[in-house]
């Protein structure tokens, strides 16, 4: 087989997006680079996405995971909305939330169906590990 398969990250395709109006994109751009440098293909959708546009991208790109970044305290509304959109589309891929999520909300999000939550300042290895594990567990 080709050289790529020797590295398990090489075949991972992940959609990264900001859902809603929140414009804080420093973190998600850093995460995009971290995942690229780990050998993944990052489909970067950028700002102001809707649950529909994220579902469409994930389907067309055959993404292995979706990563959303949230900084406006909207996670308790937006993350469940995304989960619901994935459920409606019967899109069985992991959703990872990064950004500002207080500890006390992590459990709520996991309970709602989010696969992993990455807090601010999560080191690169933790970010890569979270994606790799989420994708491996899902397949």
């Amino acid at each position: 087989m080709s050289e790529q398969t020797s590295d398990s990250n090489a075949n991972i395709r992940i959609v990264l997006a900001k859902l809603g109006l929140d414009g804080h994109d420093r973190g998600i751009k850093i995460v995009a680079r971290i995942l690229r440098d780990a050998g993944m293909e990052v489909i970067y959708l950028g700002l102001r996405q809707t649950t529909d546009s994220i579902v469409a991208a994930a389907e067309e790109e055959d993404a292995d995971a979706i990563g959303l970044s949230m900084h406006n305290a909207g996670h308790l509304t937006l993350a469940p909305a995304m989960i619901e959109a994935l459920r409606v589309a019967d899109l069985d891929i992991p959703l990872i939330i990064g950004g500002i999520v207080p500890d006390m909300d992590v459990e709520t999000l996991i309970g709602a169906g989010v696969t992993a939550v990455l807090g601010p300042g999560a080191p690169a290895e933790e970010v890569v590990e979270a994606v790799t594990k989420a994708v491996a567990d899902a397949s």
Partner: protein
């Protein structure tokens, strides 16, 4: 150095000192002893020319520094409905405040109404929700707008909010010429960093130029643009990039206003700045000093300002929200203190200090109080306010100031080349080709890698992490009541207004937008009076101006 090229430098230096002394002695000073806590008397400033209050203002805008007036401790806050915020405004005014600072919620900042699908979960969260003039009336009910100064932190739809402010004031009998305040209205940094844009750069610039013209002609006490580096830094830039991009944006606004036939001395003195104060103490101080020097030189030498006030870089500062850690949040108090100290030594005109818990949420009341106390300690206990530019003349600080200026000038050269000699065109081009976002993303990533590799220590994050276990989080939460209330209110307004009037007013906004020779402001004031919603007005202009989508520079 003195601008005087006379052959006897000693004479000119003496002259500068004499001038400074005259200015100093004519300054009204605060009635406190200017001495150390041990009783050692202090000079108002130490060192040589240029002196504080003298061109190019490296050492500060005023000859007496903070001896005449401390910086303004301006704490930015607010969330909920217009009525909630109104209650807090009144409380503030009762306590002797004269300045109101308005934070808007995300939908308002983005030109969306509370009933938009985009607004879901955001109404009233990070500021007050304003949909129509009715909300603006509630926001300022019972407040004499002729007597207060109001700061509004909004950019994309700033013209609409300013129109609402004018309309509310005039309903209460206060003419627009009597209104004092500042509207942030710095759209260029939105494309570069904060990303709260609506229209593409050129039409946005037209709106701002219309606002500059309108305020120059009719609202002489209003500051139509506050040029902001804060968000550029928060997005991950270096100190020098913050300095360079912000001042370049300033030059772009100046060139746009000049092209529109405005007088530089008229509008120049009404421009103000907003910087970040981050953790690298001396770099920040160098940045603040360089900002004043560069701005003064460019305004005088390149743009021909004659009025000193048009050469002065006045700025507000906020401590670096991005530096606050979610880990061991109490230690952020120490970070905020050193950042506040740097801003004070750097000569800021006003300062907001962040709450220690802001890495995770809006500050609790306690955190906000500690933040205010922190800058009060810097002002009253450290002695830093007794001597103007206390670190001026120190080789390291002077070198750092020069270095910040050198790096900024490199950026200016690049932008100027991009714009074929025009900073305005250069900034447009650099927005479009992704230069700004690319540079910022590179810097942010470089910093992150350094932290990640442990080459840069962030206390509590990648070192000294013991003690994080007992972080009990007590965060401010915002309920859904605001959203429900606001949706009802908007529905009522929409039901009760005259739809024909709204349609006419919106048609006029679109027509005005189509004609670059017409100033948009009168039509906007008419539209808000007709109770058109913010989003309706935004859309009326969008049909002409289009929308902006950022190129993916990651």
């Amino acid at each position: 150095m003195s601008e005087d090229n006379g052959d006897d430098t000693t004479d000119s230096a003496d002259e500068a000192r004499a001038e400074w002394l005259v200015d100093y002695e004519s300054s009204r000073l605060r009635d406190i002893p200017f001495e150390t806590m041990s009783g050692v008397p202090l000079e108002p400033m130490y060192g040589d020319s240029p002196y504080p209050g003298q061109f190019p203002y490296t050492r500060g805008l005023f000859p007496a520094g903070y001896r005449s007036r401390l910086w303004t401790m301006r704490m930015f806050a607010g969330f909920g409905t217009a009525e909630d915020t109104n209650a807090r405004f009144k409380e503030l005014l009762r306590n002797g405040g004269t300045g109101l600072s308005t934070a808007f919620d995300m939908p308002t900042l983005m030109g969306r109404d509370s009933d938009s699908s985009w607004a879901l979960g955001e109404v009233g969260h990070c500021g007050v929700a304003i949909d129509t003039l009715a909300d603006m009336r509630d926001l300022f009910a019972g407040i004499d707008l002729g007597k207060v100064s109001t700061s509004m932190t909004i950019n994309g739809p700033a013209a609409i909010l300013m129109a609402m402010y004018v309309a509310v004031a005039e309903e209460s009998g206060v003419g627009r010429s009597g209104l004092a305040g500042t509207i942030q209205n710095d759209i260029l940094k939105e494309y570069q960093a904060q990303k709260e844009y609506i229209y593409p750069p050129r039409p946005s610039m037209r709106i701002i130029t219309d606002m500059v013209k309108f305020t120059t002609a009719e609202m002489p006490r209003w500051h139509p643009v506050s040029i902001s580096g804060y968000h550029i830094r928060e997005a991950g830039s270096t100190a020098a990039q913050e300095l360079a991009f912000t001042l370049a944006n300033g030059f772009a606004y100046v060139e746009a206003a000049l092209a529109a036939g405005e007088d530089i001395d008229e509008f120049g003195r009404r421009l103000s700045f907003f910087f970040n104060s981050h953790s690298d103490f001396f770099e920040e101080i160098g940045k603040f000093r360089a900002a004043r020097r560069i701005w003064a030189r460019w305004m005088k030498e390149r743009y021909g300002a004659k009025d000193k006030r048009a050469m002065m870089c006045r700025f507000h500062t906020q401590t670096a929200g991005v530096s606050l850690t979610a880990q061991q949040p109490e230690i952020n108090i120490a970070r905020v203190a050193t950042q506040a100290l740097a801003a004070a030594i750097g000569g800021t005109q006003s300062l907001h200090t962040d709450g220690f818990d802001e890495a995770m949420a809006l500050p609790t009341e306690k955190a906000a109080r500690i933040a205010l106390r922190t800058q009060q300690i810097v002002a009253h206990e450290t002695g830093v306010a007794a001597v103007a530019d206390p670190l001026g003349g120190a080789p390291f600080v002077e070198w750092m100031t020069d270095e910040m200026e050198r790096q900024a000038e490199e950026v200016f050269e690049h932008l100027e080349a991009l714009g074929d000699g025009s900073m305005l065109e250069g900034v447009y081009e650099a927005v479009e080709n992704g230069y700004f976002v690319g540079e910022i993303a590179d810097s942010a990533y470089r910093f992150e890698r350094e932290v990640n590799a442990g080459r840069r220590i962030i206390v509590g994050v990648n070192a000294y992490t013991e003690g994080a276990e007992d972080d009990a989080q007590n965060l401010l939460r915002i309920g859904h009541e605001t959203e429900e209330y606001q949706l009802k209110r908007l529905a009522t307004v929409k039901q009760e207004r005259n739809d024909a009037d709204v349609a006419d007013a919106l048609a006029r906004v679109t027509a005005d937008a189509n004609d670059p020779n017409i100033n948009l402001m009168p039509g906007l004031i008419e539209a808000v009076r007709a109770l058109a919603t913010e989003e309706e007005i935004v859309m009326a202009m969008e049909s002409v101006f289009g929308t902006y989508v950022e190129r993916a520079i990651v």
